[in-house]
């Protein structure tokens, strides 16, 4: 039970999942507070970069970040847990177009207005850049215009509304939104699916890994399926649970990042 006046455990969130659902956030906060036996403060920021800076500067105790951010700062971060989606700690990147678009393949997206999620997102930026790198192209020239929405959900909205003709999104977010907001998602169509990639992890700084609260957080996440509140949270997230993970889960992401980074 959380004690009054006690300092909160600060947990950072990014739009790697459906961070707009206030019910989900309140349930997650309640579950973590129950398990950590102290107040938990969920801190949302618009970009991956902001969350990394807050984590690095000690403003956050832990965070759910994108796998690319983890890969970029792997040497300073400790993996606490990874979500299980369809029983695996993996997800895919989708490149989508508006339902009315004639595009059939990734190459058909040439000359379109493209919406990225976040420059530090694997699915929302890296994979598309990697595909372009393989074609010896860069986003600014391959696409007619590009912009960032800083949320997978916003990318889907941008493509569905016609603001963008194509977009790069997290496959897990697209799948879940298809169930929750079918009217919106059905106005988009997938033209490219990536290979399975390591799911965005929950991390803490290496230096905080052994702190009791950090350990309790990892334990709470891993034991989520054992608690009613935890199962409710998982159900809303459409996840099967959390599992411990090793860094090699993200090797493929790191490899692609290195390829892209070499060209940039």
């Amino acid at each position: 039970v959380a004690k009054a006046g006690e300092e909160s455990f600060r947990f950072g969130l990014t739009p790697v999942f459906l961070d707009n659902d206030m019910t989900l956030l309140s349930l997650l906060q309640a579950y973590l507070a129950q398990q950590l036996r102290r107040p938990v403060e969920l801190l949302k920021r618009r970009t991956q970069g902001e969350i990394w800076v807050m984590l690095r500067s000690g403003q956050l105790d832990a965070a759910w970040i994108c796998d690319l951010t983890y890969v970029q700062h792997q040497e300073r971060l400790a993996l606490l847990a990874v979500p299980l989606y369809h029983g695996r700690p993996l997800y895919e990147t989708y490149v989508i177009v508006n339902k009315a678009s004639d595009a059939k393949t990734f190459d058909d997206l040439h000359g379109t207005v493209h919406a990225f999620s976040d420059p530090d997102s694997t699915s929302g930026y890296l994979i598309t850049c990697w595909m372009l790198t393989l074609r010896q192209a860069v986003p600014g020239r391959f696409f007619r215009n590009v912009f960032f929405t800083y949320s997978h959900r916003n990318t889907i909205r941008a493509v569905a509304n016609g603001l963008a003709e194509s977009g790069s999104v997290d496959g897990y977010v697209w799948d879940v939104m298809k169930e929750k907001e079918p009217d919106l998602v059905e106005r988009t169509r997938i033209v490219f699916r990536s290979e399975p990639l390591g799911f965005p992890p929950i991390v803490a700084l290496n230096i905080s890994r052994d702190r009791p609260d950090t350990q309790r957080l990892a334990a709470a996440l891993l034991a989520m399926t054992s608690h009613d509140l935890g199962r409710e949270v998982l159900s809303m997230l459409t996840l099967d649970g959390f599992t411990p993970a090793s860094p090699d889960l993200y090797d493929s992401t790191a490899q692609k990042w290195n390829i892209v980074r070499a060209q940039i």
Binding site: A115, N145, F147, T149, N154, A158, N161, G162, L163
Partner: protein
């Protein structure tokens, strides 16, 4: 012809001064009410339209203020999504404003982002209409017919323009409300005006009803019937009309009394005339009676002489025939013929017998010319009375040894009786009695005109008229009476 009558009617209608008071006053009241209501409606509607436009400006200003603040951060960074999010979020945020689209443009008039990205694509030039309407200025443009309004606003950061905001809003609801108010104003004012106009009409009609009553009774006077207005009306009318009614009734009573008096005098005159006629008749009977008695004496004395006997019997026969003619004429005149609706030629022919006493004592020559050859559909006794009266007057007016001429003829369904004398001339005031209704001036000075007044009354009753002419010597009176000829009667039957 019809066109001319129509034009006359039109002219009469156009002459407002000639309208009846009963119509003019309510129409005037209704006209004033309609003018007042129309003016008030116009002022209210104009004020409402001004308020609505002012409210629209205030609303659009508030909308643009809010939108400018929302898009400014993204516009400065040219962040397409952030600006789109701001536009998208503003769709339902402003009460009273129904935006159809909003465009955020860069200073080079290219679309950064629009709320309807399919219609206004990223980086496309601004629609020509918007540039033409607003140029580089800010403002509001309203198209009431299309039910749309457009607005432009420059978005500034620290005084520097960083872009422009354009929006089109749907003001159909606003205009519908305006139309509804106009209709309500027209309907309410129309109903009120109509109600007041009708109320005014009936109230004034009720107030002016005594005038109609008075007019009705005055009209009756013109037709010869003088009746006072019944007392029952007096209790329900205004004081002024009460006084008017009282004065009318006083006049009606005076006229009625004069009429009664005149009737009585006429009756006396009739008896006097009858007396004169009777004495004349007695004279006419008496004259031959002396001869008859002489003839009888002669027959008694010299009856054996066939020549004397025959001469005496002839004389006796002529004398008795003269008495018979006088008696028959008196009988027909004062007892009436068998058919009072017809005038036969003989109805007039025996009149000379009635006046032979008058003509005899004055040694007048009666020039009798009855040219009527068939029965006429006209009241015979009345025509006989008219002719007899005029003839008696003519005899009285003519000098001793003068000539009195009477002619009766019928042409074009009009019976014309002309009586000419050689007297000093009928005074004009007496002559006027022939053409005046009985009630107007019953009787005249010294009862001298009673015969003429009675004659005039009869002429008026038969629907005819009399003309009095003055030849160099005497008077010529022509009475014209409408008749229906026997042929027409037969044809009708």
């Amino acid at each position: 012809m019809e066109h001319s009558e129509g034009a006359d009617l039109m002219l009469r209608v156009m002459r407002i001064a000639a309208w009846p008071l009963l119509v003019k006053v309510p129409v005037l009241a209704a006209g004033l009410m309609i003018t007042g209501a129309a003016t008030i409606s116009q002022v209210v509607f104009w004020q409402f339209a001004q308020d609505q436009e002012s409210n629209l400006r205030a609303l659009t200003d508030a909308y643009l203020d809010g939108l400018s603040a929302a898009v400014l951060p993204g516009l400065i960074r040219r962040d397409v999504w952030e600006v789109f999010e701001a536009l998208d979020g503003s769709r339902s945020r402003y009460a009273g404003i129904e935006p159809r689209y909003a465009i955020v443009a860069l200073p080079d008039d290219k679309v950064l982002v629009a709320s309807d990205p399919r219609r206004f694509r990223l980086n496309s030039p601004l629609p020509g209409d918007l540039l033409r309407w607003f140029g580089a200025e800010d403002g509001l443009r309203v198209d009431a017919q299309a039910g749309r309004a457009w607005m432009a606003r420059t978005v500034r950061s620290e005084g520097f323009p960083v872009g422009r905001l354009f929006a089109e809003i749907d003001i159909a609801e606003l205009l519908r409300a305006r139309r509804q108010i106009l209709l309500a104003l027209v309907a309410v004012n129309g109903c009120l005006t109509l109600t007041f106009a009708l109320g005014g009409y009936f109230a004034l009609k009720r107030m002016l009803r005594p005038l109609s009553v008075l007019m009705c009774y005055v009209e009756r006077v013109r037709n010869g019937s003088v009746e006072p207005i019944p007392e029952g009306y007096q209790g329900r009318i205004a004081h002024e009309f009460g006084q008017l009614f009282d004065r009318f009734n006083a006049m009606a009573r005076a006229v009625s009394e004069r009429q009664t008096l005149a009737s009585q005098l006429a009756e006396r005159e009739k008896y006097a005339m009858l007396g004169r006629l009777a004495s004349g008749m007695a004279h006419e009977v008496n004259n031959p009676l002396g001869g008859i008695l002489n003839a009888i004496d002669t027959i008694q004395a010299h009856g054996n002489d066939p020549v004397v006997l025959q001469t005496s019997l002839d004389f006796l026969k002529r004398g008795l025939a003269g008495i018979r003619n006088v008696a028959r004429a008196a009988l027909v005149t004062y007892k009436g013929g068998s058919d009072t609706s017809l005038l036969t030629p003989t109805d007039l022919d025996d009149l000379p017998f009635l006046v032979q006493h008058e003509t005899g004592i004055r040694r007048l020559h009666l020039d009798w010319g009855n040219r009527i050859s068939e029965p006429l559909e006209v009241e015979g006794p009345a025509v006989r009375q008219i002719t007899l009266n005029l003839l008696l007057n003519a005899c009285a007016a003519s000098p001793v040894g003068g000539t009195v001429a009477v002619t009766a003829s019928c042409a074009n369904e009009m019976l014309q009786i002309t009586v000419v004398d050689e007297g000093p001339g009928l005074p004009e005031n007496m002559a006027a009695l022939l053409n005046q209704a009985a009630s107007a001036t019953a009787g005249s000075q010294e009862n001298k005109g009673l015969g003429l007044w009675m004659t005039g009354h009869l002429i008026h009753r038969l629907g005819g008229h009399a003309e009095v002419e003055y030849p160099p010597v005497g008077t010529r009176i022509v009475v014209t009476l409408p008749v229906v000829s026997r042929e027409m009667l037969d044809a009708a039957e």
